[in-house]
C-alpha cells in the first residue's frame, strides 16, 4: 500500500492543466499497490476547485481555505501539516515555477528525498523515476532509496484526467504560523504587450541560439519578410536582449498555434516546445540531427542555417 498526496495548482481563479495531469500520475502510482490518492487544494475558491477535481481515481480531496493565491510559506506549512496527518508514501507536486518555489522546502521540512522534473514514475517495490539530464540529451532512471519521497512531475508528460468520480471532500485546517509567512505576493503583471502579437500570426519564423550573433537576426527577419511571416524566438534570444520579450515562444513566453512554425537554429528544449507544439506544421532547420526539435517536426532540414536560409529567401524573392 502506497498512498499518494498530490498538490494541485491554480492561478487567478483557474486550476492549471498540471493539476489534472497530477491526478493521472498519482492514480497510476497507487494503481499497482492499492493505496489511496489524496489531493490537496490550497487557497482560492477551494470548494469550486474540489468539484472540478472530483475525478475517477481520486479517493479524497482536502481543501485548505487559506489565502486567494499561491504563497509558498502557506503552501509549505499546509502540505507539511497534511503530510504529517496522512503520512502518504509519496507527495507529488508540479514541476512548475510555483512547484520549484515550494516543493524543495516541503521535502526539506519533511526530511524526504526530492526527485524533480519526473517524466516517468514506476512503483515496483520502490520508486523509480525517469528524468532527463544534460539539456535532454541523456535520459536516466533514478531509484529512491528511502521509504518516503517527494516528487515533482513535468507538466505535459501525463494525460489530463477527465473522467468524473466521487471522492470524499474534506476541509483541512491547521494552525498557520504567521511568523513564518515572510513573503507577500503584491500583484501580477502581463509582460510584453508590444505592437506585434505573435499568437495571432499564421506563419512564424522563429530564431534560436543557433543564430550566434545579434546582427544575424536580420537574415531571419529577411526570410520572415519574404514569407509574409512574423518573427519570433526562443528564450536565449530574448535573454540576450536581441528581441523583446513579446516575441518569446515557450513556457515562460507565449503559447502559439500558427499554421506554420519555422524553427531556425532552435534545439527544442522542453520549455520551448511547450509553447509551440500545437502548431499545425513544424519545420526545423538545425545542424544537429539529434536535436529534440526534429522529434516534433513535420519537415526537417539538417543543415547550416547560414547556407539554407539565404537559399530559401532567394526562393521567395
Amino acid at each position: 500500500m502506497s498512498d499518494v498526496l498530490a498538490v494541485v495548482e491554480h492561478r487567478r481563479g483557474s486550476l492549471r492543466d498540471v493539476s489534472f495531469e497530477l491526478v493521472t500520475a498519482g492514480a497510476d502510482l497507487v494503481g499497482d499497490t492499492g493505496g489511496d490518492l489524496h489531493l490537496a487544494v490550497i487557497g482560492g475558491d477551494v470548494d469550486a476547485f474540489a468539484e472540478e477535481l472530483s475525478l475517477a481515481g481520486v479517493d479524497a480531496i482536502h481543501t485548505v481555505a487559506e489565502g486567494d493565491e499561491f504563497n509558498h510559506d502557506v503552501y509549505v506549512q499546509a502540505v507539511a501539516a497534511l503530510s504529517e496527518e496522512l503520512d502518504p508514501t509519496y507527495v507529488l507536486m508540479g514541476n512548475t515555477v510555483n512547484g520549484l518555489d515550494y516543493a524543495p522546502a516541503v521535502a526539506e521540512r519533511l526530511d524526504r528525498p526530492l526527485v524533480t522534473d519526473a517524466i516517468g514514475l514506476q512503483n515496483d517495490g520502490g520508486l523509480v523515476v525517469t528524468r532527463e539530464m544534460y539539456a535532454s540529451k541523456v535520459e536516466s532512471t533514478v531509484e529512491v532509496d528511502a521509504d518516503r519521497a517527494a516528487v515533482t512531475v513535468r507538466p505535459g508528460e501525463w494525460d489530463a484526467a477527465e473522467e468524473p468520480g466521487e471522492p470524499a471532500v474534506e476541509a483541512f485546517s491547521f494552525d498557520l504560523d504567521e511568523s513564518r509567512v515572510r513573503s507577500r505576493v503584491t500583484g501580477f503583471e502581463e509582460v510584453g504587450s508590444g505592437d506585434v502579437d505573435i499568437t495571432d500570426a499564421d506563419v512564424l519564423v522563429s530564431v534560436g541560439r543557433g543564430i550566434e550573433e545579434e546582427e544575424n537576426i536580420e537574415l531571419v527577419q529577411e526570410l520572415a519578410d519574404a514569407l509574409g511571416a512574423t518573427l519570433s524566438s526562443s528564450r536565449p534570444i530574448v535573454d540576450n536582449g536581441w528581441l523583446p520579450k513579446d516575441r518569446q515562444v515557450g513556457q515562460s513566453g507565449k503559447v502559439v498555434t500558427p499554421k506554420f512554425y519555422i524553427a531556425i537554429g532552435i534545439s527544442g528544449a522542453v520549455q520551448h516546445v511547450a509553447g509551440m507544439k500545437g502548431a499545425e506544421n513544424i519545420v526545423a532547420i538545425n545542424t544537429d540531427p539529434d536535436a529534440p526539435i526534429f522529434d516534433i517536426a513535420d519537415y526537417g532540414i539538417v543543415g547550416d542555417l547560414f547556407e539554407v536560409v539565404p537559399e530559401l529567401i532567394e526562393q521567395f524573392e
Binding site: 492561478r11 515555477v97 520549484l100 518555489d101 524543495p104 522546502a105 521535502a107 526539506e108 521540512r109 528525498p113 526527485v115 524533480t116 532527463e132 539530464m133 544534460y134 539539456a135 535532454s136 540529451k137 541523456v138 535520459e139 536516466s140 532512471t141 531509484e143 529512491v144 532509496d145 513573503s183 507577500r184 505576493v185 501580477f188 503583471e189 502581463e190 510584453g192 514569407l227 509574409g228 511571416a229 528564450r235 536565449p236 535573454d239 518569446q248 513556457q251 513566453g253 503559447v255 506554420f260 506544421n281 526545423a284 545542424t287 539529434d290 526534429f294 522529434d295 517536426a297 519537415y299 526537417g300 532540414i301 543543415g303 539554407v308 537559399e311 530559401l312 532567394e314 526562393q315 521567395f316
Partner: protein
C-alpha cells in the same frame, strides 16, 4: 553586507557522444560555468557595485579541483573570493541529491553568515532546480524561486522581486531578508571578464574545504537517490527530411510551403 552566490561547474555534452556506464564518456564533455549561475554572479556583483556600503561577494561551489578553473571566471567578473567544497567521500557519488547539497551548503552558510544568498534556478547538467529553496528552508532564510528582477532594500529588510511564471505572467513579491533567491536567466546582462579581471582573479583566494572542515562526516553526502540507468533517448522523429545541398533543401521546402499557401503574395 555579505552576498553568497552558489556556482557550479557543469558538464555540457557534445552533439555526438558515447556513454561509459552511468556517465557520458569524458572525452565528450566540455566544462563551463552553469548558465543560470552566470546571471546570479552578475546580480551579486551589481549589488556590490551599486551599494554605498561595503558588500563582500563570496562564491561557493561543490566541485573537484578541476572546477577551480571555472570558478576563477566568477572571480574575474568581480566576486571577491571563493570557497570550494570537496572531499574524497564525494569522488564516488554518481548523483549528489538535493539533500546532500543542502547539508554541505548549510554548513558553508553557517561559517560565512551571509545576508543574502543567490543561486541559479537550476544546473544545466542534473537539472534538479531545487537546491536554493531547499537550502533556504534548512537555514531558515526566506526565499523566492525563478527571480527575473530584483530590487533590494537592505535597510528596509526586504527584497522586491519579480518571479517569472508561465505564459508571460510575472508575480510581484516582497520577500523578507535574509533570503535565498534563485536567479533566472535574462535578469541582467552578464559581463565578460576583462583582462584586468582575469589577472586579478589569479591572486584571489579559492579556499578548499573538506567535510571535516565543515564539521561534517561522510554521512552528509550519502544520497538517497541511486542512478540506475543512463541512456540516449530514442528519437521519435517522423519528420519528412529534405536532402541534398542547401539549395536543393531550400527548393524542396519552398515547394511544400507554397503548396500550403505560405509566401503566396
Amino acid at each position: 553586507m555579505k552576498v553568497l552566490v552558489t556556482v557550479k561547474e557543469v558538464a555540457e555534452v557534445e552533439e555526438d557522444f558515447e556513454l561509459d556506464g552511468l556517465r557520458v564518456a569524458d572525452q565528450y564533455l566540455d566544462y563551463d560555468l552553469n548558465e543560470w549561475d552566470e546571471y546570479a554572479v552578475e546580480e551579486a556583483v551589481q549589488i556590490a557595485e551599486e551599494s554605498d556600503d561595503d558588500v563582500e561577494v563570496v562564491a561557493v561551489t561543490i566541485g573537484p579541483e578541476r572546477s577551480e578553473e571555472t570558478i576563477r571566471m566568477a572571480l574575474a567578473k568581480g566576486v571577491d573570493r571563493a570557497v570550494r567544497v570537496w572531499d574524497d567521500a564525494l569522488d564516488g557519488v554518481d548523483l549528489l541529491d538535493v539533500g546532500a547539497k543542502t547539508r554541505l551548503l548549510s554548513a558553508v552558510v553557517e561559517e560565512e553568515d551571509p545576508d543574502l544568498v543567490l543561486t541559479g534556478v537550476q544546473a544545466n547538467d542534473d537539472s534538479f532546480g531545487a537546491t536554493g529553496v531547499s537550502l533556504a528552508s534548512a537555514i531558515d532564510f526566506e526565499w523566492a524561486a525563478v527571480v527575473n528582477a530584483l530590487d533590494l532594500d537592505a535597510d528596509g529588510g526586504v527584497a522586491n522581486v519579480r518571479r517569472e511564471l508561465e505564459g508571460g505572467v510575472e508575480e510581484l513579491t516582497e520577500v523578507d531578508l535574509p533570503a535565498v533567491l534563485t536567479i533566472q536567466t535574462g535578469i541582467n546582462e552578464p559581463r565578460y571578464a576583462s583582462l584586468r579581471g582575469i589577472r586579478q582573479a589569479q591572486s584571489k583566494e579559492i579556499k578548499p574545504l573538506a567535510l571535516s572542515d565543515l564539521g561534517l562526516d561522510a554521512a552528509a553526502v550519502e544520497s538517497d537517490l541511486v542512478l540506475t540507468d543512463v541512456y540516449e533517448p530514442e528519437t521519435e522523429s517522423d519528420a519528412t527530411y529534405f536532402e541534398g545541398d542547401a539549395g536543393e533543401q531550400a527548393a524542396d521546402l519552398a515547394t511544400v510551403l507554397r503548396e500550403k499557401g505560405v509566401g503566396a503574395q
